[in-house]
């Protein structure tokens, strides 16, 4: 909190932070070197070839001497720690993040000693798992940039996941399913908008209500309809991967970037579009001004309520799409509570990315990576229980929030209902 540091002279604070960060880096370097000692003489094999749908894209294996590689990583960490100790710069936390990345790499090398790990497969699965989180983050950006906190993304995702499966099964068309998922997500967004804009309900309470409603309605209908008529819960195979001509045969890059579900390409397009809309169009400027200072925006003739309604509806539609991706885009069916906290991870990614699309997607990729490593590491049998490895994405979220929220800045009017002067 700000007031605890106020009494301390500012230069001292800066150096103390540097010392703490440096000490953490030294400890992490020691950890890497320790792993190196225990893995001395072994080799870690990372498979880069990709095998999917019967097609093999060849690539040479990456074979590293485990011990030596780890020593090198440790040395880099020590160098960074030295820099943090003596630097007067403010970027200590960025370097800490780099050191954490080194530890994660080191851990992978250590876990792979004497075995082999399919790195390409892990990257592909990271992208896949990052997608619902990235969509949820994007959904949050639209809503919160206009000043409406949307904690109910999880509930909107569930509704989207359910309705898309239902409509896709009935009409036998995945496209109709996607549209239905987005529309019903938008409907939940409308509920949130009416409650928080028209009735000025505390937005976090309204969002919680939407989560409980989304969970309740989908579970209820799941037991009522899908348990009795499983044919309504079988939209057929998941949305297929689209191979970008020529490019998908590039080793490593091809399978990871150019051979993914069309919804993943849609997400990438939407990320770029959002960046352009928010910062280069009149509408985007209006959204941001309404989120920063609604009274000023109102004075300038911007319809605060209209902008907020539009933003929350878009947010709902994207949240519905996130759920749609999880059901007909990946799993191929609906199951109770299938979003499993992805909406919240998305919100954390949004905060990590400072309410910007690019940063938020980077956060989503980090979560996706930690999400996929549980599965990959359980194959390697490193002696750490799977359940404990499964805590990684959640722990990462908490660390990231604690580390970055101080430096990120939320829209100033985020969470505050707007009422006209006369009200």
């Amino acid at each position: 909190m700000a007031e605890t540091t106020l009494s301390v002279p500012i230069p001292k604070v800066r150096s103390r932070r540097g010392v703490i960060a440096g000490a953490i880096s030294i400890a992490m370097a020691a950890l890497i070197v320790l792993m190196g000692l225990s893995a001395a003489g072994q080799t870690s094999t990372f498979v880069l070839a990709s095998q999917r749908a019967g097609v093999t894209i060849p690539a040479p294996d990456l074979v590293l001497p485990s011990g030596i590689t780890l020593y090198v990583l440790g040395a880099i960490a020590v160098l960074i720690a030295m820099y943090q100790f003596f630097s007067e710069r403010e970027q200590v936390s960025l370097y800490t993040a780099v050191v954490v990345g080194l530890v994660v790499m080191g851990f992978l090398i250590w876990a792979t000693q004497g075995k082999s790990l399919n790195l390409t497969g892990m990257l592909v699965s990271s992208i896949v798992r990052a997608t619902p989180i990235g969509l949820a983050a994007l959904s949050g950006i639209y809503s919160e940039r206009s000043g409406v906190v949307n904690i109910g993304i999880e509930g909107m995702m569930l509704i989207g996941a359910f309705t898309s499966v239902l409509f896709a099964s009935v009409t036998k068309s995945l496209f109709v399913g996607v549209i239905a998922g987005m529309l019903f997500g938008m409907l939940m967004g409308l509920l949130h908008a009416v409650l928080s804009i028209r009735y000025t309900v505390n937005q976090i309470i309204s969002g919680t209500g939407i989560i409980i409603l989304g969970l309740g309605i989908t579970t209820y209908l799941h037991r009522l309809v899908f348990d009795v008529h499983p044919e309504f819960n079988s939209p057929g195979p998941a949305i297929p991967a689209v191979q970008i001509l020529g490019l998908w045969r590039i080793p490593v890059l091809g399978p990871v970037v150019f051979n993914q579900s069309s919804l993943i390409y849609l997400l990438w397009v939407m990320l770029v579009l959002t960046q352009v809309i928010m910062y280069s169009t009149r509408w985007g400027l209006r959204v941001r001004s309404v989120g920063e200072h609604p009274r000023a925006a109102d004075t300038l003739g911007i319809n605060v309520f209209k902008i907020r309604y539009m933003s929350v509806l878009i947010s709902g539609a994207i949240a519905g799409l996130a759920g749609t991706y999880m059901s007909i885009g990946a799993a191929g069916r609906f199951s109770e509570g299938m979003t499993a906290g992805k909406g919240f991870l998305g919100l954390a990614a949004m905060i990590f990315g400072n309410w910007n699309p690019g940063g938020a997607y980077l956060g989503a990729l980090i979560f996706g990576f930690f999400d996929s490593w549980q599965e990959k590491l359980s194959i390697l049998q490193v002696g750490i229980p799977v359940e404990l490895l499964g805590m990684a994405p959640y722990l990462a979220t908490m660390v990231v929030l604690a580390g970055f929220v101080g430096r990120s800045r939320m829209p100033a009017a985020d969470g505050q209902p707007y009422q006209k002067e006369s009200a």
Partner: protein, 431 residues
Amino acid sequence: MDLRPESAGQGKPTPTFKEDGGDEAGGVARRGCWGGVLVPLLAVITAIVLGSGFIVASNPPALEAWAGVLRDPLLAVTTSVQAVLDAYLALLVGAFGNPAAVADALGVWRYTGETRPLMDALRPVSESLVITTPYILAGLAVALGFRGGVFNIGAEGQLFVGGLAAAYVGYSVKGLPWLIHMPLALLAGILAGTLWGAIPGILKARWGAHEVINTIMMNYIAFRLADYLLQGPMSRPDGMPITPEVASTAYLPALLPSPVRLHLGFILALLVAWVVYWFLWKTTRGLEIRMVGANPHSARYAGVRIALTIVLTMGLSGALSGLAGANQVLGVDHRMVRAFSAGYGFDSIALALLGNSHPLGVVLASLLFGFLRGGAARMQSVVGVPNEIIRIIQGLIIVFVAAPEIIRSLYRMRAKSEDEKVIVMESPGSS
């Protein structure tokens, strides 16, 4: 909240301080009249009425009648009404038991001294109260958080670690008398819950990380931890993913003979509700918590240590949820299983809202939800309405309680008076 009496009431509670307490408690506790109760009551009724739409949708004859609504509109209406009445009657019988059966059993007991039929007849009421117990404790946890300006969505995870800790002390410690073992197991649950709640509190106080996201993360970590412990270190010798049975010296004893499962925990929960009321409105620490919740800026100005108070609030909130988990393990299941909580932690948010974050309101709301859920099981088995209908009704209740204007315009009520204000956190952002 009026902050003026604060400087006078720092050392010991003064009359002005009391009045201040009464003002917030007012709606439910003292004025007792329509102001504070009518809107929540109408919210519940409206939610139940809307819920009947889902009942009609799950009733095949009613749906058939609606398919032919043009031919015979009256039939559609009567079948639907019949379906809804059947469902809610099953709910009532499931929640309270059959009055005729109770009367018969009372007669038997009077003339023969045979208690078994009476206990059988009382079982539905007792089951509802058994469900009410964790509701009260978890609802108090969220309510205390609201009063202190933090939103603890992590009650479910705190419940889990509380249950795990209580189960561990319950089965691993042997040879202690009941008077020591049972409180020890309860304490273990409380401490685990405190830890689970305090961590997001510290993260919020020190780094400004939002507790809503962190408590949810702690939930998932708690679930993974439970998965791990129940399959590994704490599993029963035969490898089933449940813990060994708790020693009988750690039981919260049943109040009546079997099959009535109502246990000491219910009394304990009522006691705790009173303690929370006393703490929040009759102690300086409680005042500080409510000050931070009402307006952190003026609280800081008045010399309250905000960071410490946030950690304290989250810790106490976690302690109450942990107690709810320990209560469930020691009083009902007598072992820890993965599915030991039917979402009590999440339902508790609705309870705190419905009870206006006041202990008495939370107890009343918990009774309502306890009986709703108690009856829902029978509704599912007799009429075939999935018991998830209760969650839908809960979601609707949250919406209506949070937006009393909807209820007011629906029932053409007069404009709001001041004491109807819903008590939730005022500052959703991080300070």
